[in-house]
Symmetry: C2
Subunit: 95 residues, 2 copies
DNA sequence: CTGCATCCGGAATGATACTG
DNA sequence: CAGTATCATTCCGGATGCAG
C-alpha cells in the first residue's frame, strides 16, 4: 500500500481532517468541536476514538467530567498537509 | 464553510486523492487506474466524473474508443498537499 | 477489448432520543 | 458535559451486462 493510502486509512474518514484542523491551534472540548464543526455527536465520538487509537490526538481529563482533546506530535505533524489542502480549497469554484 | 471543508467536498470521497496521485506524473487511461489502484470500476467512473466536474482533471480522447485522464493546472496544484500527506503516512504505525 | 451503467447487499454516516 | 442506543439514509463494492 502506498504512503498516501496509509494516511487516508486514518484521515480519509469523514470529519477526521476537520477535527484535526480545529485542534491545531489549541485543545478543545467535545462540545466545542460539535458546535464549531456541526458534526453529529455519534460520529464525533467515533472519530475521536479512531484518531486517538491512531496516535493523532490524546484525551486530557479535566475537572467535573470534562475532557480536552489535544493533538499529539504526530497530529501536529499534519499542519503542513492541512495548510496545503486549505489553500487549495480557498481557490475553488472559479467561474 | 472553511477552505478545508471546501477542498474535502471534492477530495474527501473515497479514491479521489489516490486517483489524483496516480495522475501527478503522467496521464493514464481508465484501465491503468483500475489496475494500479484496485478501485472498483463503477466507483472509478463516478470519481472521474466528479473530478472532471470539479476541474481537477480532463478527458483526452485517444484513438479506438480510449481516453486518457490528465490533471488540469488545478489538479497539479494538489501536488504539495499529496506530498505532505504521503510523507505523513510514511511514518505511520510506530510500535 | 475498453469504458462505462445498473442492480443489490453491506458498510458508513446522519438525526434523534436517551443516559451517567 | 460527554457520550451511547437506535433507526433511517446514503455511500461503497462486487457482479454483471452492454455499447463502441
Amino acid at each position: 500500500m502506498s504512503d498516501l493510502a496509509a494516511a487516508l486509512e486514518v484521515l480519509g474518514a469523514r470529519w477526521a481532517l476537520l477535527i484535526v484542523e480545529q485542534l491545531l491551534d489549541e485543545p478543545q472540548r467535545y462540545s466545542d468541536l460539535q458546535r464549531t464543526l456541526g458534526v453529529p455527536t455519534n460520529m464525533l465520538a467515533t472519530r475521536l476514538r479512531e484518531l486517538e487509537a491512531a496516535g493523532v490526538l490524546s484525551r486530557l481529563p479535566l475537572k467535573h467530567n470534562t475532557r480536552a482533546y489535544a493533538l499529539t506530535d504526530r497530529g501536529l505533524a499534519l499542519r503542513d498537509a492541512i495548510v496545503a489542502l486549505s489553500s487549495w480549497g480557498a481557490q475553488e469554484a472559479r467561474p
